[in-house]
Amino acid sequence: MAETTLSHVPPQMRPSGLRGVAADWSSDQRAFKNVSWGKAMMWVFLLSDTFVFGCFLIAYMTARMSTVEPWPNASEVFALHLFGRDLPLILIAIMTFVLISSSGTMAMAVNFAYRRDRKRTAILMLLTAVLGATFVGMQAFEWSKLIMEGVRPWGNPWGAAQFGSAFFMITGFHGTHVTIGVIFLLIVARKVARGDYDTDARGFFTSRRGNYESVEIMGLYWHFVDLVWVFIFAFFYLW
């Protein structure tokens, strides 16, 4: 018989470290103790989404390395003409700053959510959403600037056509993630503000009761989108 003894010990007495992991995985009911279904789902989804972004980025690198035409120079292409001179990467620096800050406000929102501080949680989530929307807005500005300079998905004035293709595809896909995030931030913020998580109100679609953990799950997604941006930033703008 494949025996696995079930030893049920109170959480504070559970073995720690690797032994704890082994104990959890060989236990019944849950492999990750104290992880709710919602959070587990978000982690698994993010793992899958990592593979999506990973494939996009690897495809981009392959295209860039195998093309025979010169690749446009990032510090020139992404420069803004401000105060009478070209500032390389200035817009993208601001965008990155905005997005990273939004991760900060998100983390604070999660913190207040667990204290059931409805007002501050909602405000911080709104702030996060505004920062996210600002990011998307600036991205729209960047896109229009490049488009006006003649960059198209199928070609550009400076070299390999794949530059525009990969740029629009990957930043677009990331921007879509941010936009979806903003929408969900607004939805969750509304629920927090309305007190749905205190009154055990049921979700409109799922008819399940929510709780403040939704804020944290939302946060996981948001930090992930930020993290992905760091990679896009490094591979697109700094390489």
Binding site: W25, S27, D28, K33, A40, A63, Q162, F173
Partner: protein
């Protein structure tokens, strides 16, 4: 004989989460159509998959007819043949097998087998099905689109896939295919999250991972793989859509078509192949692992013996799943690659044979001196083992670069993959349906029709695909609608082609008997009772059959043992259900 000492104390763990509250449907629509019950969703998934699978079956008849009697059927032009090949392959692999194993069996069996009330996210689960249905409908639409469906081959290799010379390349066909695939992936992801989270976080009290039936292990591992492999197909589909719609050149090199320079340039068709096969090879195991799992349970139950080497079986499943992510380029030997690369991929490919062989040995050792009941599920399970070994052996040929290069793109390859990922998993699906139909409907499938179906399908499949190995070895290429007057092709090939076609038609019609049986037995089948096979796993222990919404009535099951306690010496029956505390007294648990 091993001395068996039952343990007298077995701690019953406390429940870690309160019992979940289910969505209670208010109307007929939310009960049977927009249902959030995994069992209903499973039936919806399975019926849709089988319906679209029938289309693929008919397409295979048309192809076979053309191959056997070239020139007889006016409507099967070379273009039409390519379209049939493409749609047949894609439907069989993605829309039938993947959907049926994961969406169908996954939904039905996971919650029941791990002792859960339902999937973790029933609403998402429901969406998953409806998006899958949309993907299927979009796919079907391509048959009616101007220019018809795409004829690019199920591998959809660019550049030809989006050029005018390929059917549907410059028309709607390829667009619809890519769009449908993207939908499928989105829908699958929603379901996949459910299956993974339910197995990891939603098991019953006492149900450890190492007590799960191998069916659940197979489906679970396949789902994890699918969640990591489909992203590559998703990305490839998006990029190809852009190449076709926006004129980007991700996959398109500089080309001259009809003496005219196209605007594409600088892209890499090989990049697509890498992305496609990073999905495509794991996909083979996404349909194989659930089959492995199910077959283990069928064999153990119908041979009244515990599965041999349970732990090894689990680790073999996991090892195969992991290894299958580093072998993909064995599909690209003829695309040209650095010899060291070929060496690497040939080696990893052959290494997979080790865990796979372990599984085969363990199945055989489970049967060894077992009390084998030749029920219909068992017959299909035995047929699977033989067929899988057969297909696996030709896989060893093809995994070696030097052997593969001359055999690549011949009918030998077609014979190989039909054996290993066509016939073998389909046999398991049939066996599984005969096995679980009584639980789903409360009635047994008719045995006479079942035997007829089994023998015709099993023998027929060999009559179809065995000669195909020879045809391939002589050098007949795949994806050729017609051989014409070719010196190196002997007369015997033409005779064989006619023979194969007749066999294929017969096998095809035998499936109609099976379909008829499915409907006929709904009303006329023998009453099955709750546990007709006297099986140990939890789904057979539900309070009522078919299981109600929520599966378990008011008390969730508590699990005391693994899934394979058959013929335990000293036990009152020749099986001990997983929720049977024997030799302890049953305790009433809250």
């Amino acid at each position: 004989m091993v001395e068996f000492t039952p343990r007298t104390t077995d701690a019953i763990p406390p429940a870690e989460v309160p019992d979940v509250e289910l969505y209670h449907p208010h109307s007929w629509w939310t009960t049977y159509v927009f249902s959030q019950d995994a069992k209903v969703i499973a039936i919806q998934y399975s019926s849709t998959a089988m319906a679209i699978g029938l289309v693929a079956l008919v397409l295979s008849w048309l192809m076979r007819l053309q191959l056997a009697f070239p020139g007889t059927f006016d409507f099967i032009t070379p273009e039409a043949y390519y379209q049939f090949v493409t749609m047949h392959g894609m439907i069989m692999v993605v829309y039938l097998l993947t959907a049926l194993f994961l969406g169908g069996f996954g939904n039905y069996l996971i919650p029941l087998m791990v002792g859960a009330r339902d999937m973790a996210f029933p609403y998402l689960n429901m969406l998953s099905y409806w998006i899958y249905l949309a993907a299927v409908l979009v796919l079907v639409a391509s048959f009616f689109a101007p220019g018809g469906p795409t004829g690019a081959g199920w591998t959809l290799y660019p550049p030809q896939a989006i050029l005018g010379g390929t059917p549907g390349g410059q028309q709607a066909g390829i667009l619809i295919m890519l769009f449908s695939l993207i939908l499928f992936i989105i829908g699958f992801t929603m379901g996949g999250l459910n299956y993974v989270v339910t197995v990891l976080q939603g098991r019953a009290r006492g149900m450890t991972l190492m007590r799960m039936p191998l069916t659940v292990w197979g489906i679970f591992t396949a789902t994890v793989m699918a969640l990591l492999a489909f992203p590559a197909l998703f990305v490839a589909a998006v990029m190809m859509l852009f190449d076709r719609l926006l004129g980007t050149s991700f996959f398109m090199p500089a080309l001259v078509e009809m003496g005219e320079q196209l605007s594409y340039g600088g892209g890499s068709p090989i990049l697509f192949q890498h992305l496609f096969w990073f999905f495509g090879h794991p996909e083979v195991y996404i349909v194989a692992l659930p089959a492995f799992g199910i077959v283990s349970d069928l064999i153990s139950t119908h041979a009244r013996k515990n599965i041999f080497g349970y732990r090894m079986m689990v680790w073999a499943i996991v090892a195969i799943g992991a290894l299958s992510f580093i072998v993909w380029a064995h599909h690209m030997y003829v695309s040209g690659m650095h010899p060291y690369f070929g060496f690497f991929f040939a080696t990893t490919t052959l290494i997979i044979a080790v865990p796979t062989a372990i599984k085969v040995y363990n199945w055989v050792l489970t049967l060894w001196r077992g009390d084998i009941h030749l029920t219909i599920p068992m017959l299909f399970a035995l047929a699977f083992i033989v067929t899988f070994v057969n297909g696996g052996l030709t896989g060893l040929f093809l995994g070696n670069v030097v052997v593969d290069v001359p055999l690549s793109d011949t009918m030998f390859v077609v014979a190989h993959f039909h054996m290993v990922m066509g016939v073998a998993p389909i046999l398991v699906i049939f066996g599984a349906i005969y096995h679980w139909y009584p639980k789903i409907t409360g009635r047994m499938l008719n045995e006479v029709m079942g035997h007829f179906h089994f023998w015709v399908t099993f023998i027929g499949a060999y009559l179809i695909f065995f000669p195909m190995h020879y045809v391939g070895l002589v050098g007949v290429p795949r994806r050729y609608p017609e051989l014409g007057e070719t010196a190196f092709i002997p007369e015997s090939v033409h005779t064989l082609n006619e023979f194969i076609t007749i066999a294929a038609l017969v096998v095809g019609f035998a499936q109609l008997v099976f379909l008829f049986n499915l409907f006929w037995s709904l009303k006329n089948g023998r009453e099955a009772g709750g546990n007709p096979w006297r099986a140990t796993t939890l789904e057979w222990q539900t309070p009522t059959t078919p299981p109600p919404h929520g599966n378990w009535g008011d008390r969730l099951p508590v699990v005391y043992r693994w899934a394979y306690d058959y013929s335990v010496p000293g036990a009152p029956q020749d099986f001990i259900a997983q929720n049977d505390p024997w030799p302890n007294k049953p305790v009433v648990h809250r």
